[in-house]
């Protein structure tokens, strides 16, 4: 299990590939399913054009809460391994904000666990987004929405 807080731009697909190839070698032949979620910065939010963002976090508490979230998911589903990467600092549209990857023997568990980790991260991991609008006005994002309701 690896949790990374990343002040620089990262390529989520390369992170998954490299973690799987270099770290999960003991799981060769055991992995049947990998579920990956990537959150990316959009250039619009709540009707406004957004040209940049700053991600603040609470160092220490962030890692602690993410580790608890993964441990909770591990107690609920049969997970072989998990990787979380989250960006902090200044970020531009189209850059990756968050990566959650879960490896399992079975697909149901991989899907359930990755979504659960993502929702828990959204509601509990101490990160805060401040948007820079096209008008140069800055504003804090006030709250996250629930990702289980899609209507």
């Amino acid at each position: 299990m690896l949790i990374k807080i990343c002040p620089d731009m990262f390529d989520p697909w390369q992170e998954v590939q490299s973690y799987q190839q270099n770290t999960l070698t003991a799981l060769t032949g055991k992995i049947g399913a990998t579920s990956v979620f990537v959150g990316t910065m959009r250039d619009f939010n709540e009707g406004d054009q957004v040209k940049g963002m700053t991600l603040e976090h609470y160092p220490g508490m962030t890692e602690r809460q993410l580790a608890k979230i993964v441990a909770q998911a591990q107690s609920q589903w049969q997970i072989l391994d998990a990787l979380i990467v989250h960006r902090v600092g200044a970020i531009l549209p189209d850059e990756a904000i968050v990566l959650v990857a879960v490896w399992s023997s079975h697909r149901g568990e991989a899907f359930d666990a990755s979504r659960n980790i993502m929702e828990a991260l959204k509601s509990k991991a101490p990160f805060w987004k401040k948007e820079l609008l096209d008008s140069d006005q800055e504003r804090w994002v006030s709250k996250n929405t629930d990702g289980y309701t899609t209507c």
């Binding site: 959150g39 991600l55 603040e56 976090h57 609470y58 220490g60 508490m61 602690r64 809460q65 989250h86 904000i97 968050v98 993502m118 991260l121 959204k122 509601s123 509990k124 991991a125 101490p126 990160f127 805060w128 987004k129 401040k130 804090w140 994002v141 006030s142 709250k143 996250n144």
Partner: protein, 79 residues
Amino acid sequence: MIMSIKVRYFASLKDRVGCAEQAIHSSGLSTVRSIWHAANPDKKLPDNILAAVNMDYVDLDSPVNDGDEVAFFPPVTGG
């Protein structure tokens, strides 16, 4: 007994309070809520505020101990 508490603020709450970190040395501090009032005598405790003691989430009425790090922040918006 005089307790020393490190108080931290994040995001919009940091802007509102005007600082990121304070050290409080005072007697009569018993709960997270009392820390807020000691640190911000002129400010109401905001609605929807979240609090952590030593990096774990707590209720506002949770106890604090000498040397604790108490943090206040708005709803999180990562991911």
